[in-house]
Symmetry: C2
DNA sequence: TATACTTTGTTTATCCACTAGACAAACCAT
DNA sequence: ATGGTTTGTCTAGTGGATAAACAAAGTATA
């Protein structure tokens, strides 16, 4: 108890050093290659301080000297690089009908990628599959000082603050402690995140959101989930359950949703909504199978008028929810991701036109609306980054 | 530029001292009376460190020694108190038809209060009135080391990050720089806040929200505005325009709002909505004047069945929006404030029953739903507290 | 009442991290 | 070759935290 209080509250030289070291490392990560002198002038730290911190980071293999740079009229600087290969991170996105796993270096560069289509796996089948995927990724990993520094996993459901999966309806999971299961097997820190939160983080780190401090990532898949980056930080809510915007009422006179409420957003603007609407309009599946998003895309490519109308309709419904988001958060950026992002071609212009249409001029001024550039990898990249960052910050603390 | 970078980024002993001093002051503010030894054990700081910081705070008149406390088996401790009378803060809530101004000490205790009913004032009339109110409050203020340390003002409209009032439709204000106007006259720091944000902060500081880190304050007046405390901090959005939830669409097939959108929440659940609905149901004003909230309350007190039905209807509409808020933020606490809070007697039970009705069990678990306990003073107290806190933090930095 | 033990708060010596400035090494320009 | 620059290290000094000693003021017990 008292220990914990101390950790949280006291500020001493130790903290100063830790923060400054992190500052130096961040500078290098952001703007490498870079000399010690550059870091000093960028951060405002003294040259000597930077020198000693840099030397420690070199000893820890977190950065590298890449030889002399170009002179600006005097002695040539020694350029420093972030050693992105000091360790590797694994990010796994568990979808409803796929598992996407990536191996990244500490910078988030993908080294290896595995996409496996699955269907109706039992939980033990899933864990077996996860283990074999992790083993595979580990086996192709190049030798490095730290090896696998962490595993991040994104799931389509609610995750508690402690990392327990509370409810993932589409996986039929409830109160599942996947974290301990994997941590015990691999003895590596594991982070479990909601898929939308992971995607938001991925976009913040690697997508268009790098410079933005307030980002709303709208994950449009079978349902709709939202990940929130507010004040530079992921906002998770009191119990880690924020962003359930799929069940935001946008029509209180609408049909009843499986959640019990009426007129939820995802009844109008999700992948499922799109398919239902298409079926209703008499669009039939090609081969007697189920109608899929992929088929709809093909029909749209072919210029099918009815399909285009359906997409327009869904776009209109998306706008309603997005406008609510703008009024609620006044975000800097909204990013549309997950499956429905493949409709970018048809949705982009209508959305740009109508999103923020009735918002105040200032509200709208520099609002950016993007489609995910990371495609299906937002969530996997996000959780991988989480695990990597966690390693770096813990590593800096242990000294 | 470089200066600013330094301020933001570098961590040195100077920062450590500042933070520790703030930590000591906070301890005293929170749990006075308290000895030096108590502070040391509470914060984890060394006794010597606490001693020297306490002595500095004493010299600055921010704390007081209140004589010996009770012994616990050894030397009697010297108890310390926060010197709440070291300075005073002014908080002004500019409403559509009233101006509420308070003078508080640094702890937020109200020393003087002025409530003035106004109607359709021009901007220059308003500023004249503000000046005379401020002068009045200053004249009744007891002598103190620091005098008036700041002025906070809450307005029913959007406020930019720089403190400019962008748009307050009900006051007919647009792009108004009230801050500079008052700062120039009184040479005291002035903080301008949106009324809902101010209310949220007031509730966080002095209401039921003291211990909570995620609070949504719903200000139901003529319109609806929302103030957000997320991760312990006021979330203002990218341009300072978050919380415009009054214009959240809850029925996209509904009537057109003056904002241009359809089916906005405040068309169904604000004071104006209540009055309109009452008129529609044939409830007529007593004396040929306009129908007011006060009259409706009186009728409800008298048990008027139709009025009670109207209130129930508005309650139902409130629930829809509140459920959206829960799904969006997963807050720890929702506080209903402003004018409509007077309907607590009739709304409390129905709201408790239906808010979170369809939310996940975990979502709902420890969600608190409160009506404002500060009544009409939430916003004024909030801005006054803002000004006071600003003084304290700046004061600690200057050394 | 005398003595031993506690608790409080100050003081002292020490440690740690940052800073300023001196300095050597490496480079450019004339 | 010489003087001026830039880079990076080293040294002395500063500010603040800590630990431990200590004095002051109390309680408990014989």
């Amino acid at each position: 108890m008292e220990q914990k209080m101390k950790m949280i509250q006291t500020f001493n030289q130790h903290v100063v050093k830790k923060r400054n070291k992190a500052l130096v490392l961040d500078s290098i990560k952001e703007s490498a290659p870079l000399s010690r002198a550059d870091i000093a002038s960028q951060t405002g730290l003294n040259k000597g301080t930077v020198s000693s911190l840099v030397n420690e980071l070199l000893e820890e293999h977190l950065i590298l000297e890449s030889g002399p740079g170009v002179s600006s009229g005097g002695r040539r600087p020694v350029m420093l690089l972030f050693n992105q290969s000091a360790g590797y991170s694994i990010g796994i996105d568990i979808g409803v009908n796929y598992i996407l796993a990536i191996l990244t270096d500490l910078q988030g560069t993908i080294c290896e990628e595995k996409l496996i289509k699955v269907k109706n796996l039992t939980f033990s089948q899933t864990t077996e599959l996860l283990f074999s995927i992790i083993d595979d990724l580990k086996s192709v990993m190049p030798p490095s000082p730290y090896g696998v520094v962490g595993i991040g996993i994104g799931v389509p459901g609610t995750v508690s603050m402690t990392g327990e999966v509370l409810m993932a309806p589409n996986l039929h999971w409830k109160d599942i402690d996947l974290k301990s299961l994997i941590e015990e097997k691999y003895k590596i820190p594991v982070k479990i995140k909601n898929e939308a939160n992971a995607g938001a983080y991925g976009e913040k780190k690697f997508g268009a959101g790098k410079e933005c401090s307030d980002i709303v990532y709208v994950s449009c898949g079978i349902g709709i989930g939202v990940g929130l980056i507010l004040n530079e930080k992921l906002y998770k809510g009191h119990n880690g359950l924020s962003g359930e915007l799929g069940h935001m009422t946008i029509n209180f006179e609408g049909p009843v949703c499986k959640c019990g409420n009426k007129g939820c957003w995802e009844l109008y603007a999700s992948e499922q909504a799109l398919i239902q609407l298409a079926l209703k309009k008499g669009i039939t599946p090609e081969n007697g199978n189920e109608l899929t998003l992929e088929q709809i895309v093909r029909l749209a490519e072919a210029g099918d008028e009815e399909v285009l109308q359906v997409i327009e309709e869904v776009g209109k419904n998306l706008v309603t929810g997005l406008n609510n988001i703008i009024n609620t958060f006044n975000p800097e950026q909204i990013i549309l991701g997950n499956r429905l992002a493949v409709l970018q071609k048809w949705l982009k212009e209508p959305l740009k036109k109508h999103v923020g249409e009735y918002a105040l001029a200032t509200h709208k001024k520099d609002l950016q609306l993007h489609f995910s550039k990371l495609e299906k990898r937002s969530a996997a990249l996000g959780v991988a980054a989480f695990a990597a960052e966690n390693f770096l910050s813990v590593n800096l603390e242990e000294n």
